[in-house]
Symmetry: C2
Subunit: 353 residues, 2 copies
DNA sequence: CTGAAAGCGCTTACAG
DNA sequence: CTGAAAGCGCTTACAG
């Protein structure tokens, strides 16, 4: 009997007695519906596609892990792929997910417009960690700008004026926002921005050592560093140890293993990938069961008028804060040997904007 | 025309001219075959299921990343799931993968027999990092026993006799093998094993601190520690710093971020998850294209006689070595206050086996 | 070497 | 509330 299908899909139009009969038979036979057949006919698969920069990166691995936890509890399969921060590859992967009839997609966009113009149909897309640009999508992020501002102000409050920023490549949305926050704080403090201290050109941790050496070779080297993401921090810390400049203040975006155990312990913005992942997965689930809303809420929604109603909130903010551990509270070390005579008071040194 | 299907599946029985005609039409229309339909009819999907302890664990994340790299190059999709070291869950996930018609499965088995008796049909299963028990499967591992032996001998060579072993739970195959290697080295050196120093009961890094405290509370505390996996190392190192016992020698299985930067830097067995992942993926690919073998090799294979020929090598070994960085070369610190008089020469202290 | 038919296992309308 | 038919988009034998 084909009523079986109705039981399987929780169709309400089936007598409770019949339902129980069918359900028990299914249990006895250990019957499991064929996902391919179901997907083929229904045009939708109970799977969610997830694209991140790289599944091997500790930050994204943790993010994906919590996405998986939430989604697998909800009965979804998780398809994972790495974009390696290539927008073309990212787009191809998402297209493939759509073709595979994924119920939804979660992406850490390699650039804000990486999926621009993509026809997603009614498949919800959630951008994780970075704001993405696609009509109807939701982005789950931390307050990058405000947190970068806070980080910078923290260092300024500890007496620093020569603060360097190390970031990914500027096309990455988070790098942009963190850069802007840094800028605001520096300008507002009347210090201004020395462009030589802004190094948002470190796609890989492997390049960090060279950049650090560059910075310390400046005639007025930085006394403090902000590392804009975990991957870079994993390069910055060893580099500082290597060049023997652990007296440099350091503030890292993203907590990481051993941050507390190092000497000095690393002050971080606890930008938590697990929280971001969970929030992204939950945002997606919300969009995946539109009928699950209570009747009351349904009634409250505006009448359809041809246009899809604008999502009230297409940006979800995940909380994050600063954890002071030592490296971010180091005082500026006296300007190096070159200038032993302190003629100018540190507070008077104002760079041009 | 249904010749299209033949072109798609590289069927040789199609005229080259026709093939090119069809192929160009496909290109022009940007045609992509429907995976669900294909899977439904062909009974096989171009995807590989991967089950690891946890995708959030740095070790397994790196392993999965390299599996993904290899398999996606070969045109396979990767389905990833975390078993959370629950054999029941692990088995259910694999069954689900099989039902989804995965072309192959890669598993880090939570215990050797976790998939025992599972009917996999002709779907190849590769066990990664730990030896698994399933007819016809391949296991890709490092030489756990020999490496554990080497690690232990390294510490013994640096004068240690009180060497503690911290491992996962004993059902995990790697823990068993490493335990055995440790045992061999201790016995062969004439030191013998003090069971109080063998702590293969640390499923989580969170429990490590308590175990470390236990060990140091012994009347004859260890002067050296072996951490049997990366996850534990991430707990052991902070714990040693916390209790102020960084003078304890440490040898960790598995390299990890900051190991080189910590003070002291951590001596490790460079059990590389990327190598294991790559080898596992390649072993799977080998089994996925049996006809890709050269005709010569085909001819050389014994005639089929009803029984599946035994795999020549169902265990693939991945190389690994010891990287001395400091922590593993620390000398035993003089026995604590309790016994200041060195009446017995260290080489003469032999514990019971 | 190429085509026409049947069917993989479900779900979706359409009748009863 | 339940059943019989058609079809999702491919591939697999089977004829020509």
């Amino acid at each position: 009997m084909k009523t079986a299908s109705r039981v399987l899909n929780d169709d309400p139009r089936v007598a409770p007695a019949t339902r129980e009969l069918v359900a028990s038979a299914m249990r006895r036979l250990d019957y499991r519906p064929d996902p391919a057949a179901r997907s083929l006919r229904a045009g939708r698969d109970r799977s969610v596609g997830v694209v991140v920069d790289s599944i091997g990166d500790v930050f994204f691995a943790a993010l994906v892990a919590s996405v998986e936890t939430v989604l697998s509890e909800a009965g979804y399969h998780v398809l994972i792929a790495s974009s390696h921060r290539d927008p073309v590859r990212e787009r191809a992967i998402v297209q493939d997910f759509l073709q595979r009839r994924c119920a939804g997609v979660i992406v850490t966009p390699s650039r804000p417009d990486s999926l621009a113009g993509l026809r997603t149909g009614d498949v919800p897309v959630v951008f994780a960690d970075r704001v993405g640009d696609l009509p109807g999508s939701t982005s789950v992020v931390v307050e990058d700008l405000a947190l970068a501002r806070q980080a910078t102000e923290h260092l300024i409050a500890h007496g620093h004026r020569r603060i360097a920023l190390l970031g990914d490549i500027p096309v990455v949305a988070t790098t942009q926002a963190r850069h802007a926050g840094y800028r605001q704080a520096m300008v507002d403090a009347g210090i201004g921005v020395d462009e030589r201290l802004v190094r948002t050109d470190c796609p890989d941790a492997s390049e960090v050592l060279r950049v650090i050496e560059d910075l310390f070779a400046l005639d007025e080297p930085p006394t403090a560093l902000i590392s804009a993401n975990t991957r870079l921090s994993l390069g910055v810390v060893p580099a500082l140890h290597l060049v023997g400049r652990t007296d440099t203040a350091l503030l890292a975006f993203g907590d990481f293993a051993m941050a507390e155990t190092l000497a000095p312990a690393v002050t971080v913005i606890d930008h938590d990938p697990q929280r971001v992942g969970r929030a992204a997965a939950e945002a997606l689930l919300d969009r995946l069961r539109p009928r699950a809303a209570s009747p009351a809420e349904d009634a409250a929604s505006p009448a359809e008028e041809g246009t899809t109603p604008l999502e009230a909130a297409d940006v979800v903010l995940v909380p994050a804060g600063l954890i002071a551990r030592g490296s971010g509270e180091l005082p500026p070390r006296p300007t190096p040997a070159v200038r032993t005579n302190r003629t100018t008071a540190p507070t008077a040194t104002t760079a041009t904007t």
